[in-house]
């Protein structure tokens, strides 16, 4: 508990004392560090958490700075009004750049932001109305009533205030429903989409958010300096922001502050040092700077903050804030056929992976899908969950066609799945991973999460997550880091996560693989128990003893087609099945 208070409190106290004891030069340096830190915070979310690279942050800072300069000098608007407008303008630009490129892989965002950053620099450098490469001056200081925030010390107060507010919002955001989804995206889009998260939308929102933080930073920069030109907004500076994020430790909020501090101060210090040593500036310091950064990366691959953090005492775990219950999802009660697959076919080019597959699952039934390796089971599984699209045929879920829908839309209807190759967010705790599954059961968005208005909903989510963990027998491990679990336990964790979405149909892809005998026993009991509660379960599994024990009905696939179906007894004595598994006598 002490650590939870000390880590934010000590720096905050120091920041409050700083302007009273430091020279104006030092205060100016701190101003620049903090202004940079606001931009880097955005990059921590975008690059560190989501894994998206942007070469355009400096241009967003530039838009903020130029927009406020133009609005306050040419139009004579109040700086406070221009702050709001700057942030909105930047948000709108980011929305269009992002909407165009974020649907594709990460590199497209990099190139689009690169294009945007370079274009910005040359356009503003060539625009006479904005001073061209020489710049734009006489930007007024903002004032509060009769108090004008001129000079480094009064601007310091404003800068610290905005930085602290941004940090607070970002910390809240990462520790929320949206934050959990954000942290899962780096592990591949299939994972968050399987609980109904609209991944492109989250990426776009974070990109816009990062641009807005950059705009606020640009606003501060313009009013602190009173004068701007295009050079601090070039692509080189964007690259420096990325630098700060990675040096500090890209996925951590504290890393943003540390990285901005180290990079800004070291650069300045080197400039003085090199001028004293070599007698001229602008030559060697960039070399020494680059070498220093290489050494830091060499010593601390994931940045400075994780490195320092490992030396601080570990945080003591505080009690889970729980309150329940989380309301059940309201769905019409299900009886009869839950899922019907009709003449499903999937071909990849000339290869027919699944052909003429038809079967159905009833509520309260466990259907096993078995077959030799390469029979097309996983393809069939992915056709139902929406990861692949059908070539022809239909998949009907509770009277509604779901083939052609996205996995997120399918999840929304009440289908939940696990993965053959376990996909868990290794850096999150077991409990947080399960809470991820409850994405669709609450609806807190970015704004409420950032303002910490989500506590009641979060308590209910965690209470339910703990209940799901207890249900699968992992209750006592809720606080462990999920990456530390054994593989078998990770599979069970996936089942708890799938249950957290309160599904009607559960799709399990080889849940028993890697489990020991006792664990298998417990899993079988769990599945039987779930069936009694009316859940429909589709099970793809290789472990025949397990399959024969728990399933009500089996569908056997071979070469993409249905070979046989029936009760486990019937299937076991079917000569065609025996031949497919064991080979014929001839």
């Amino acid at each position: 508990m002490t650590r939870r208070i000390l880590v934010p409190a000590v720096p905050l106290l120091l920041a409050i004392i700083a302007p009273f004891v430091l020279s104006s030069y030092a205060v100016t340096m701190l101003n620049y560090v903090f202004i940079n830190a606001i931009v880097v915070l955005g990059l921590v979310l975008l690059t560190g958490v989501l894994g998206l690279i942007s070469f355009g942050q400096a241009a967003f800072v530039g838009v903020g700075a130029y927009a406020t300069a133009w609005m306050t000098v040419t139009l004579g608007l109040s700086p406070w009004l221009s702050l709001v407008l700057c942030v909105l303008v930047c948000g709108a630009i980011a929305l269009s750049v992002g909407a165009m490129t974020l649907r594709m892989g990460g590199h497209y965002l990099a190139i689009a932001t690169l294009a945007w950053g370079i274009s910005f620099y040359y356009v503003f450098g060539n625009l006479r109305a904005l001073g061209g490469f020489t710049g734009f001056g006489n930007i007024p200081a903002p004032s509060l009533g009769s108090w004008t925030l001129a000079g480094e010390r009064s601007m310091y107060a404003l800068i610290v205030l905005m930085l602290v507010a941004s940090i607070w919002a970002c910390v809240n955001l990462l520790d929320s429903r949206v934050g959990r989804a954000m942290r899962s995206i780096r592990y591949g889009a299939a994972l968050p989409e399987s609980f109904g998260v609209n991944v492109p939308r989250i990426k776009l929102t974070v990109f816009v958010l990062a641009a807005m933080l950059a705009a606020a930073s640009g606003w501060l920069y313009a009013h602190l300096q009173g004068y701007i030109n295009p050079s601090p907004f070039s692509v080189t500076v964007s690259i420096e922001y990325l630098f700060m994020a990675v040096i500090g430790g890209a996925a951590q909020i504290a890393g943003a502050l540390l990285g901005a501090g180290v990079v800004t101060l070291v650069r300045d210090w080197l400039q003085d040092l090199m001028t004293a040593l070599v007698g001229q500036a602008g030559n060697f310091e960039v070399v020494v700077f680059g070498v220093l950064m290489l050494i830091i990366l060499n010593r601390a691959k994931s940045g400075l903050w994780p490195f320092l953090n490992s030396m601080l005492p570990k945080p003591s775990r505080c009690a889970l804030p729980l309150a329940g219950p989380l309301p059940k999802v309201k769905r019409p009660s299900s009886t009869g056929n839950v899922l019907e697959v009709r003449a499903a076919r999937k071909n990849f080019g000339g290869l027919v992976a699944v052909n003429a597959m038809s079967f159905e699952i009833e509520a309260g039934q466990i259907l096993g899908l078995i077959g030799p390796n390469g029979a097309g089971k996983s393809t069939m599984f992915n056709l139902i969950s929406g990861l692949l699209s059908l070539s022809s045929g239909e998949v009907v879920f509770r009277g509604r066609r779901i083939d052609g829908m996205s996995s997120a839309a399918i999840a929304k209807l009440g289908i939940s799945r696990t993965f053959q190759h376990v996909k868990i967010v290794r850096s999150m705790t077991v409990l947080e991973n399960v809470a991820l599954g409850a994405w669709l059961r609450t609806s807190t968005g970015f704004v409420r999460s950032a303002l910490r208005l989500d506590r009641a909903a979060e308590k209910a989510v965690f209470a339910d997550a703990l209940y799901q963990l207890e249900r699968v027998g992992l209750g006592d491990m809720h606080g462990a880091r999920s990456g530390a679990l054994a593989l078998g336990k990770q599979r069970i964790l996936e089942i708890a996560r799938a249950l957290a979405s309160d599904p009607v149909l559960l799709l399990l892809d080889e849940p028993a693989a890697g489990l020991r005998a006792l664990e298998k026993r417990a899993l079988a009991d769990l599945l039987v128990n779930l069936r009694q509660q009316g859940l429909a379960i589709l099970l793809v599994e290789h472990d025949m003893d397990f399959v024969m024990e728990v399933t009500d009905k089996l569908v056997v696939m071979n070469f993409g087609e249905k070979l046989a179906s029936g009760t486990p007894m019937e299937v076991q004595s079917n000569p065609k099945v025996l031949e497919a598994y064991l080979g014929s006598d001839e």
Binding site: T47, G51, I53, M100, T101, R103, M104, G105, G106, H107, Y108, A110, I111, A112, L114, A115, W116, I118, S119, Y122, V123, N126, I185, R186, Y187, G188, A189, A190, L191, I239, L242, F243, V246, I247, A250, G282, N283, F284, E285, V286, V287, F289, G290, V291, M293, L294, L297, N298, K301, S302, K423, R426, S427, G483
Partner: protein, 351 residues
């Protein structure tokens, strides 16, 4: 604009485009094998052109000292890691000693042969290319080898840091002025009603030749196949006995060779400054991205497109040249986003 000017601009554009093709191919190759977005690629172009220009001015280029220094640092790092692994034996020390100490020393000794006004251009070109290419393995050892398994982002940042170092050193070694190397081909000649510059033929011809060589290297040779295997799966390649360190070092050396040849080709065409490499590399990068950082022919087509676009843009609105080049990428991005809407970027497994 009449046809003469159009033809002239097109020729110029294709010439620049051919160089961007080389850079794009190098970037795609480096990214596929090592996951590094190789920002300093352009520096190998400017280093070679500027080294050649220094030879032309009758001086020994400072790149020689850089090569000796980088080699020494790389060797010491190698020794330290050998010692940490408890493998400090002659058999293990000899190869790095050759690569990081002997070859640079040999090149430094030979570099005297290029100093003097009467020395043939071929010798100077050869020495410039060798000196710059020999830098690559040492730089890989220093900057990337210790973090080869880190995330792509960390590798990118290391690449950027290396770029800073190289640009800063270039300013110190070559000074702030722009230099131009002499044309190595004769006078322009008329082909029908077209004026053809022999430089154009050289650049395009050599680029095509180099690409054919790379194609054969990757398609036929064992080393080429090893690199392709590493590109498909680093772990898989490792399991069949391909050293990822070796693959990385070889790839960066190849990329440096491509950059060095580009530098020789482009030297007579533009005014090369200590920091010109970055924008050159960036345009190669744009070409590469148009090709999706994976498909070589598309990357090449993209790079030629960038070259042509740039020449025409600088003819019409030279102040907005870069803006035009970099914003006209947008329609291409949109087209690619529609043509290939679902890219499932598999998450980075970490820790």
């Amino acid at each position: 604009m009449d046809f003469q000017i159009f033809a002239f601009l097109l020729q110029d554009g294709i010439t620049m485009g051919a160089v961007y093709v080389l850079l794009a191919v190098a970037l795609v190759m480096v990214f596929n094998v090592t996951r590094i977005i190789y920002v300093p690629q352009g520096e190998f172009v400017s280093y070679t052109a500027l080294t050649l220009a220094t030879f032309e001015a009758g001086q020994r280029p400072a790149t020689v000292w850089l090569l000796l220094g980088a080699g020494a640092v790389a060797f010491v790092m190698e020794l330290l890691s050998l010692r940490a692994a408890g493998a400090l034996v002659a058999r293990r020390i000899a190869p790095p000693a050759g690569l990081y100490l002997a070859i640079p020393a040999l090149l430094a000794a030979l570099s005297g042969a290029g100093v003097g006004a009467d020395r043939p251009l071929v010798v100077k070109v050869f020495l410039s290319v060798c000196i710059v290419v020999a830098l690559a393995p040492a730089l890989y050892r220093i900057a990337f080898r210790p973090i080869a398994d880190a995330s792509a982002l960390t590798l990118l940042v290391a690449a950027i840091a290396l770029h800073f170092v190289l640009v800063g050193l270039a300013l110190h070694m070559f000074g702030p002025e722009g230099l131009r190397t002499p044309a190595f081909a004769g006078e322009s000649f008329k082909l029908g009603f077209l004026t053809v510059s022999p430089q154009f033929l050289w650049v395009v011809g050599l680029s095509v030749l180099l690409i054919v060589c790379l194609f054969i290297f990757f398609g036929r040779s064992l080393y080429g196949k090893a690199l392709r295997a590493s590109a498909v799966s680093r772990r898989g390649a490792h399991l069949v006995g391909i050293s990822t360190d070796f693959a990385g070092s070889l790839t960066l050396t190849l990329a440096a060779a491509i950059g060095a040849v580009s530098g020789v080709l482009i030297g007579p065409l533009t005014n090369m400054k200590f920091d010109s490499g970055f924008l050159l590399g960036l345009k190669g990068f744009v070409g590469a991205i148009i090709g999706g950082l994976a498909v070589y022919p598309l990357a090449a087509a993209g790079a030629v497109f960038v070259g042509v676009l740039e020449t025409f843009a600088s003819f019409w609105a030279s102040a907005y040249k870069e803006v035009i080049v970099f914003t006209l990428i947008v329609p291409i991005l949109i087209w690619r986003s529609i043509a290939q809407p679902h890219v499932d970027d598999e998450g980075e497994a970490e820790e």
